[in-house]
């Protein structure tokens, strides 16, 4: 990928120090983990002092944005070892374990449907035209856990516009790679592969909608959806489809994998909503990854707290019906 090789050539001594700091930091965390263990009864926990730049620097010219400024980040460790990515196994630790050999380059995305510029494009060509920036977003899983991640990527709307969707394009569907040889979780038909999900066009064009190629200043780890994934922070995590190989502009509401699996449990919209429970569990509260036994769960907010940016999209809609 162009981005990676460019950043490698551009490496400065100061950045090497950053990498060392990064390694030392883990060591520090490990040690403090033991310390915390010793004082566990006292109810202490590891303070989340880490900033994205502490983790790595694959993007030296990264534009920092105001999104999520001052939010307490989930640790890189937690965000990369507790994943729902059924293509690599249904256990939370499976994706990190089973995705180490996943090949993310070369990568291409096929554009189909109601747009003028359809065809297959190399990801590196798409990235050349993109403005790469960092955004800190809250992430709320439908299973009632949450994290806060500094994503690196580009605006979804900016990319979609370049394919010139026609007036018929009312929806956009995304598709994950189907390759059971590389994705051992696809050997069993746990879900209706390939994984698909979609957005209404105005949702996709919302400035919040983001395509991530990295996190914590590093390239996206495979278990987090490398090389490119969707991030729509006001929706439940499963809408944030990973390892995208196809984008289709459509006139009608697209098929979404979880919606097909459990139509009563996972709606097309799947907006974060504390008042509309999952039939089997409450969505009123959430557990932040990395929180210890004594920390209370936090209250879930409507649209995951992004109402100001997205509430207008659902004006006049019954959110219980269109859950």
């Amino acid at each position: 990928m162009i981005i990676r090789s460019a950043s490698k050539q551009d490496i400065k001594p100061s950045e090497i120090t950053t990498e060392t700091d990064y390694l030392n930091r883990r060591e520090f965390i490990k040690k403090s983990g033991i310390l915390v263990g010793a004082t566990w009864a006292g109810g202490l926990s590891i303070p989340a002092l880490a900033r994205p730049s502490d983790y790595g620097n694959d993007y030296p010219n990264l534009i920092k944005t105001a999104y999520g400024k001052g939010e307490k980040l989930t640790s890189f460790e937690d965000a990369t070892t507790y994943n729902n990515y059924y293509e690599f196994g249904t256990g939370k630790k499976d994706p990190a374990k089973n995705s180490t050999h996943f090949k993310t380059a070369p990568w291409s995305i096929t554009i189909e449907g109601e747009a003028k510029k359809t065809g297959t494009f190399y990801l590196e060509d798409i990235l050349k035209q993109a403005q790469i920036e960092e955004r800190i977003y809250r992430f709320r899983c439908v299973e009632a856990w949450s994290m806060t991640v500094p994503w690196v990527g580009f605006s979804l709307a900016d990319m979609l516009k370049r394919f010139e969707p026609t007036s018929k394009a009312k929806y956009v569907q995304f598709e994950t790679l189907y390759d059971p040889k590389q994705m051992p979780g696809q050997v069993r038909r746990v879900l209706d592969w390939p994984y698909r999900d979609g957005l209404r066009m105005d949702e996709a064009m919302n400035p919040l909608s983001f395509m991530a190629t990295g996190m914590y200043g590093k390239e996206l780890p495979n278990q987090n959806g490398a090389p490119v994934r969707l991030v729509v922070p006001w929706k439940y995590g499963f809408k944030n489809i990973k390892s995208i190989v196809k984008i289709k502009f459509m006139e009608h509401e697209p098929v979404c994998t979880w919606n097909v699996t459990g139509p009563k449990e996972y709606g097309f919209y799947s907006n974060v909503n504390p008042d509309v429970d999952h039939p089997r569990w409450s969505q009123a509260t959430e557990r932040a990854l990395g929180s210890n036994f004594w920390e209370p769960k936090t209250k879930t907010r409507l649209f995951n707290g992004y109402g100001e940016q997205v509430a207008h999209l659902y004006k006049g809609m019954d959110l219980r019906k269109y859950f």
Binding site: I34, W40, T81, E143, S282, L289, P296
Partner: protein
């Protein structure tokens, strides 16, 4: 009847395999190991990014494992003719109760933080919690009547009462199934095991009925 037989087995055992008496504390410690390791991991912050979930699920798993081990004892004893195994039935049953109890208690403490209102709401509103709760309620009388004194007092009814372990194990597995989002592999394997264990008893009771008629 049962008590007499039990005592006979026990005295016979004492004479034949004195090691059994020695083994019991070893087995007891062994059964405590999952709890011990879980506690150790919890203290060392070693339960991953979502320690509460990890703890509750691990305890639930062990509850089911011990229920199954308990159900395995009488078929294994009969098939392999190892009568001393029945000495461990009460212990396994009580360990099942132990793990399910702390499973439930962890939910009350670390998931609901003792909020009675939330707990009651959850139990009424969420079918999978409801099933789990009923399952636990049914286990309580079994644990309470597990003493030899209670066996003696309840006589025939003791055996009848303790047949509750069958619906309990079915409900426990249902509780698991109802929690799963898409991957039914693990509870599926458990279902096969439970079917064999309960099927064995069904076949046996049918055979006995035929003999009588």
């Amino acid at each position: 009847m049962e008590v007499v037989i039990k005592n006979n087995v026990y005295t016979q055992l004492k004479e034949k395999v004195p090691g059994v008496i020695f083994f019991k504390p070893v087995v007891f410690i062994l059964c405590l190991m999952p709890f011990f390791f879980l506690l150790l991991n919890a203290i060392n912050n070693n339960l991953g990014p979502n320690p509460v979930e990890e703890m509750i699920r691990t305890l639930g798993d062990w509850g089911i494992y011990f229920l199954f081990i308990g159900l395995m004892i009488s078929p294994v004893r009969k098939v392999f003719n190892v009568s001393w195994l029945s000495r461990y039935r009460r212990m396994t049953g009580l360990f099942a109760f132990f793990y399910v109890s702390i499973h439930f208690f962890s939910y009350i403490w670390f998931d609901q933080f003792f909020s009675l209102q939330d707990i009651v709401k959850d139990i009424i509103k969420r079918p999978f919690i409801t099933v789990g709760f009923i399952c636990y309620l049914l286990l309580v009388p079994l644990a309470l009547t597990s003493t030899t004194g209670m066996m003696r007092r309840l006589k025939k009814n003791w055996g009848r009462l303790h047949k509750l372990v069958y619906p309990v194990s079915i409900l426990a597995l249902l509780h698991y199934f109802m929690m799963v989002k898409a991957d039914f592999l693990v509870p599926g394997v458990m279902l096969i095991i439970l079917s064999v264990l309960l099927g064995y008893r069904l076949v046996l009771s049918l055979k006995n009925k035929r003999k009588r008629t």
